[in-house]
Symmetry: C2
Subunit: 364 residues, 2 copies
């Protein structure tokens, strides 16, 4: 096996393949990237058995072949090579890497021990703009659960139904939903695990992605890169039941004013206790109070209020998390009672997003 | 005590004072910054008993006074305040911090429990340009020892003698010396501990610094900020004895070529063993070899050689450390025998710097 490749190309594609390498793997071959040279392409494959990546790049193949090379050592070597053509020759278990006057020799393993990646046989289910996909992941993933005993909730729900594509993250205390209009005859619903959407976010470039639903897997095809992720095979909560369409109080408020006040409130949180923030809405004046053993904060901000006055308390971090991810300058708050969830929407009509957060019961 | 101050000014000066706060202190009052308001100045003082900082900033003092406020909480609060005038009022053990519609109340301690900082009575010994001071620290500090049983070597030697000001760092394996010409009738020599020169590097702005030698301390006065550091009271090695003025081989080489090759060699270092690099100088051709269980590197670079051919080996990291800190495009290597230290100088004549590194004995 022998091929010549531009350093920048190789470096970029190794970085992509490295996203599926787990540094906690106990299976030695999975610390490696499968290099396959054929038809003037270099194909790099990697897997941690949960997510798998295959990425292709053009190169000059002199002799076809395949071998598995340890991900970290080959990655470090290529990164530190001069910016020029790199010649890689693999014979038996030796990899010779030559660039200008530098020659590395390192070892490799046989490609026959490397697990097979899933094959894409099904047709493409949908094509999504990468900006939309990245925004949806960013705006929902923080609301997923970290509790491994509620496995379904640790993932993101990805659902195509009734001409809309929805992303849902929820953990029992808050819920984030991003929705896009999407004309399609197909219907599906699946749960993508945390590692899948995290690594996907790091790989996507600025074009679009084809999505293919497969048995037990979902594949994202972005240019010359395919990312496969195993799905979480558990039932998801019926999140529609949590949604609350009626409200008694509606307040429009500047998002930054609210976020800044909440971030100050969070300064009073101590290691042991979550910070609690009380909000009191009186005719458009919003009093924000927080206190802990460290001290006490009193703030006032102003909004446009319709409906009843109300006093309600939240876990400061939960409330802040969702507000911080929104893009809109102004947000609308819908409140019902001090014990019912508050729903927050961006004011921007094009932005089909909602964040729902449960209150904390006040003692008095 | 009551004063009004611009948020940006207060934030900046709290950050300076925080440099002397240890997060490992067991003395509770030392987690605080002493705030003193007098003569339309706010004076912030902090100490970990090894280094101490006093920094002054103009403000509108409405009522003079002093109190100690926990460094991390006041720092976080001021950082998150709107960019406006902040009004601080201290009554008994309560600090009221008001900015626009935000009001924090936190606790403080009495200033009477705060240790006194050293007083500057001696005259200024020298004034040094901050660029020179920062360069000297950067180019020598990496060569200081991390071995606490050799306390003197964990510090930087700072020496004024024979019309030159020298900074020396050495750990028994390598030595870095930076020298500036300095006309003075004074002579002194002291060892500044690691924390002293590290924090000093972070505080200095782009002007110049007055240095005052005091009993057991050295003070650096930079604008409105004074930094005091305790000195290491131990004898330093007679570093002049290590210097070697004769050599058998002199090689001029591009510094980047050499650093890049050595950084590639370092990729082969494993957790357990330091990476060893062999250099063979033959009529201007420099062969660089390194190997470990991970693989093998062969490089060639070219220089201008005068004198004997020689084969010598070094700890790759030690050799690289000094070369990386130099600014010169080309460097001169002086070699004597495979068992004698190599001395490296920048080619730039104005740059009075040398880096000396001991070789590793080769088995054959």
């Amino acid at each position: 096996m022998k091929f010549n490749i531009n350093k920048v190309d190789l470096d970029k594609h190794i970085s992509i393949a490295q996203k599926a390498i787990s540094n906690k793997s106990t299976i030695q071959i999975l610390e490696g990237i499968l290099f396959k040279a054929e038809n003037n392409k270099l194909i790099l494959s990697s897997t941690d058995l949960e997510i798998s990546i295959e990425t292709k790049v053009s190169c000059e193949v002199i002799e076809e072949g395949a071998a598995v090379i340890k991900s970290n050592i080959i990655g470090n070597i290529i990164r530190k090579m001069p910016n020029d053509i790199i010649q890689i020759t693999i014979e038996d278990d030796n990899v010779n890497i030559k660039c200008q006057k530098s020659i590395f020799n390192i070892s490799c393993q046989s490609s026959s021990d490397f697990p097979s990646l899933p094959e894409i046989e099904e047709k493409v289910s949908l094509t999504i703009d990468n900006d939309d996909l990245l925004t949806a992941i960013r705006e929902t993933k923080f609301a997923t659960s970290i509790d491994e005993t509620r496995l379904a909730l640790t993932g993101l729900l990805f659902e195509l139904k009734d001409n809309s594509l929805k992303f849902v993250g929820l953990d029992g205390y808050r819920m984030a939903i991003k929705k896009y209009d999407f004309t399609s005859n197909e219907e599906f619903s699946c749960i993508i695990p945390k590692k899948g959407f995290n690594e996907l976010s790091k790989i996507l470039d600025d074009t679009s992605t084809d999505v293919v639903f497969m048995k037990g897997h979902i594949a994202f095809i972005n240019g010359n890169t395919k990312i496969f992720t195993r799905l979480i095979d558990k039932p998801y909560i019926d999140y529609n039941k949590i949604l609350n369409n009626s409200f008694n109080t509606k307040v429009v408020v500047n998002r930054n004013d609210l976020v800044n006040a909440l971030e100050r409130a969070q300064l009073l949180s101590t290691g042991s206790n979550a910070s609690l923030t009380k909000l009191e809405f009186v005719d458009g004046e919003i009093s924000i109070n927080s206190n802990s053993e460290l001290g006490k904060l009193d703030e006032k901000i102003y909004g446009k209020q319709d409906g009843e006055n109300i006093r309600i308390a939240f876990n400061t971090k939960y409330l802040t998390d969702g507000l911080k991810e929104m893009d809109s300058d102004e947000v609308v708050l819908h409140l019902t009672t001090p014990l019912s969830p508050m729903t927050i929407y961006p004011v921007d009509e094009d932005d089909n997003y909602l964040y729902l957060v449960l209150p904390v019961r006040l003692s008095q």
